[in-house]
Structures are given as C-alpha cells and as structure tokens.
Chain length 263, copies 2
C-alpha cells in the first residue's frame, strides 16, 4: 500500500486528521511517573493507549528523547513499537546535511527505526533532501513555513517577489524521488497556508501550531480546504493532567481536537 | 577557561587549525575491522590515536552514528571519551527546532554528551537558535554558506541586495547568548568566504569542504585571513587506507593538511 493510501485509510477509519505529538518531558509528566525509572515509557504507552482510536498519526520529536541519552532513545524505540499498525509514525527530526550524510540520516530513520515519515530542513538544498526522497512508501515533510515566532526571521524574506518558503516549496517540487513530498506549514499562519494550498494542492501538509502555540483551528482548516493534512497537537493533549487521570484527560482533549479539526 | 581561549590554546599547542571529521562508515573502514562487532569503535580510536597530536578539533557527524542505532550511539560516546583533553569536540548535528525543542537538543549535546560545540540550522529563526546560545563556554556554529552543491538552491537567494546567508549571519549576530557564535562557511566558496570575513571578522568559522569536496586550501586560507578558523577534513583523512596501515596513512594525511592549512 502506498504511504498516501495508508494515510487516507487510517484517517477514514479513525475519522481523524489529528496527530498526537509525543514531546515527552520528565518535568511535565504526571507526578507519580516522574520518579520511576520507567516513567517516561509508561507515560508514552499510557498516552498511546488512550488516544490511538482517535488519532491518525503520532509524531516523535527526537529532541525530547535525545536529551535523556541512551535511556531516552530506548523509550523512543519502545514507544514506537507500541503504536498500533496502520497509524502513521512521524520522526520529527528536522534533519538535513550534505548528500552522503543525509543518506545516513535517512537510513537511521527509515531503515533502522522504520518510521513512515520524517521532517527535513531545506537550508542546505537539493542534495540534503533527495536522499530522504529515495525511499518508496515514505512521506518526507520539508520545513516550509514553521509555526514558531522565529519563522519570520528568514522564511518571509522576499526574493523575486516571493517569500523564501515559496522558493523552498516550488524548488523542492522539482526534486526527484519515490517518496511522497509533504510540507510543514504552521497553523499560526492561516492566510499564508491558504495561499500555499494554491500552488501545492495535493501535497500532504503537516500542520503544527494548534494548542499551546495558539493557532486558530477553524481558520486553519478552512484555509487548508480539501488538501491532505495531518494536524499536530503535542503539549495541548499530552499534558492535560499531571494526576492519575492523565490518560482520561488526554483522551478527552484528543476527542475535542479530533472533532474541531474535523474530516 | 573560555571556549575561545581553549581553541586558541590547542591551536597553538598543536600548531594546527585542522579538525578531523569522524564520518565513520562501516562500508569504508579497513577490511579487517568491518566484520568485527567493535570495528567501528576500534577504527575511531585508531584514528584519534594517530591524529590527535596534529589536530585542534574532532567533528562527529551524528548521522553516521545514528544510522547504526543503539550500537552507533555507543560508538559515538566511547569515541568522544577517547578525545584527549584540550581538543575541541564538535557535534555536527545541524539541529534546530521551536524554542522548547531546541532547549532539549542543547541539553542532549551540551549536558548529556558534554560537547564543546554544535552546528545548528538557522531556517526556523531566532527561537530555534537561542537555546544553544545560552550555554557559557560553548561554541555554536550557525550554518551560513555550506560546502555542498545544494548550497546554491536557497543560501544564495538575493533579498534587499544581500544573499540569504548574509541575512542569516547579520541577524544571528543580534541574538542574545553567552556562547561564542561561529558560522559554517564552506571552502568551496573562497570568494564569498572572504566577503563574509569583512562583516564577521572575529567569529570562528568552521570550514568544511576541503578534501573529498574539492575546496582549494590556499585560496580558502587566504580569504579567511587572520580570522579564527577550524578547517575540517573528514573522508580525505580517515579513509586514506583500507588496510592495516590505516593509522599510519591517516596520520600522514593529517600532517599534510595541518601544514597546508597552516597557522
């Protein structure tokens, strides 16, 4: 099954375009799990169990696991194994390096860890992204217009009457590969997201910025129209409660976001 | 000792501005080490032993270790421990994400692994880079003009009569932090490197692109002038021989590059 068919299938089956972002931080998980050696893993398994029926994807931001060293990477691998088959797994690693190095990163994420998708940074250009695009049945999200405050520093720089992020999108659409090409487009810029949809109508958008980052869900989904999208919420779901009811509260918020985002 | 004093001290002590890049790849190391479970580590320890007296830094490109999963990360940590005290260690990880995530990456590299320096990608702007700059006595290399073919795709885009990499350099110099701010400027663009030196005269440049990538050493060092610089060679040194003489050959090439680069 192609990765796009897999995405469509799970989104219809779960009636959800929501992605739950597992930005797991020892200082924010429930108190009773903080002191346990297995607390991080128990937290992730608990969140996955409580939310899987309402999600179409899980996004693992590598930073949160790398900060705990070997222990963190073990939690990442074990959590990844716990994601039910059919749900899309996204390595939010924002990788990108010279050609032979990007090849090694792609191998790490797509072969060693077997993720369905990855986020990559475009700053180094074609040979830094193409190694990721060589994999069949994978989804590669190029950073275009991100959701953070610093996105205005360089991504909006105008050249030839177009912002940098538009150059990134248009140029990357000319690159060769077998993977599906998607873009990271933040919910904090709904107007620009709508404009991007016009010149990238069929690419999958990974949309962060809902929840803690304050993006407007209705405006974002209207701007996106019928284009394929995965909408991520991390902190706004997983840290709903620091008590023993963390699964229940996370599930309630997952259902809330699933409905608000709609199909 | 400040990180810049540490850099100056080792460069004078070893009379070297050379950085050896440990881009360790199982398919390229000597034949007799390929089949051994500890081959990757033995190779790195052998290279470090043979080259340390002539190097001022070691650069670990994370991709090469991540591609081997847990085993690779263990090799990275053990190799890092083997670098003699006083020599600068660079995490070539090209990280960068929204603020709270970059904080986690900084923690991984500067606290958990205790590297002296890191490379970061500027595409996401200020809040993606500042968390790295919060550390005292660390060196943060922002990607400016990279050495790879794809560097021309976006880094040379002109806005307001300046290329994107100049916007990156000028803006990042206004960001706050306690670390030393450096830039990655490839040896494959000596003319531009000389121009960058004019508006960034005292920042440390991490200069890749010598060796396999074909950068001209004399032109590069002339363009750099007296500015602080660390010049990296990876494949051009470490894969000098696939035989039992790999240490000897790597040492010969290290001395060759040390002299060509000069002080």
């Amino acid at each position: 099954m192609s990765i796009l068919d897999k995405l469509t299938a799970i989104q219809h089956h779960h009636q959800s375009r929501l992605c739950v972002g597992l930005d797991t931080d020892i200082t924010k998980i429930p108190n009773h799990l903080r002191d346990s050696d297995k607390g991080l893993l128990k937290f992730n398994l608990g969140i996955i169990e409580a939310t899987a029926a309402h999600a179409s994807a899980y996004k693992f931001n590598f930073a949160f696991y790398e900060q705990y060293g070997k222990r963190g990477m073990k939690v990442l691998r074990k959590s990844l194994e716990a994601v039910p088959k059919g749900i899309i797994t996204i390595a939010d690693a924002k990788r990108g390096d010279i050609g032979n190095t990007s090849t090694a990163y792609a191998k790490a994420v797509f072969e060693d860890m077997n993720f369905d998708a990855i986020t990559v940074s475009p700053y180094m250009g074609r040979d830094s992204v193409e190694p990721f695009l060589q994999y069949e049945d994978k989804l590669v999200f190029v950073l275009a217009l991100t959701s953070n405050p610093g996105s205005t520093d360089f991504q909006h720089i105008i050249s030839d009457k177009k912002p940098l992020y538009r150059h990134v999108i248009e140029k990357s659409m000319t690159w060769e590969g077998k993977s599906a090409l998607g873009f990271v487009v933040g919910a904090t810029h709904p107007k620009e997201l709508g404009e991007i949809r016009e010149y990238a109508p069929t690419n999958v958008f990974l949309i962060p910025g809902i929840g803690s980052q304050g993006g407007d869900i209705a405006a974002t989904m209207q701007a996106n129209g019928s284009g394929p999208a995965i909408v991520n919420v991390s902190r706004g779901i997983i840290y709903a409660s620091t008590g023993h009811d963390f699964q229940e509260k996370a599930q309630q918020l997952t259902i809330y976001f699933q409905k608000e985002i709609g199909m």
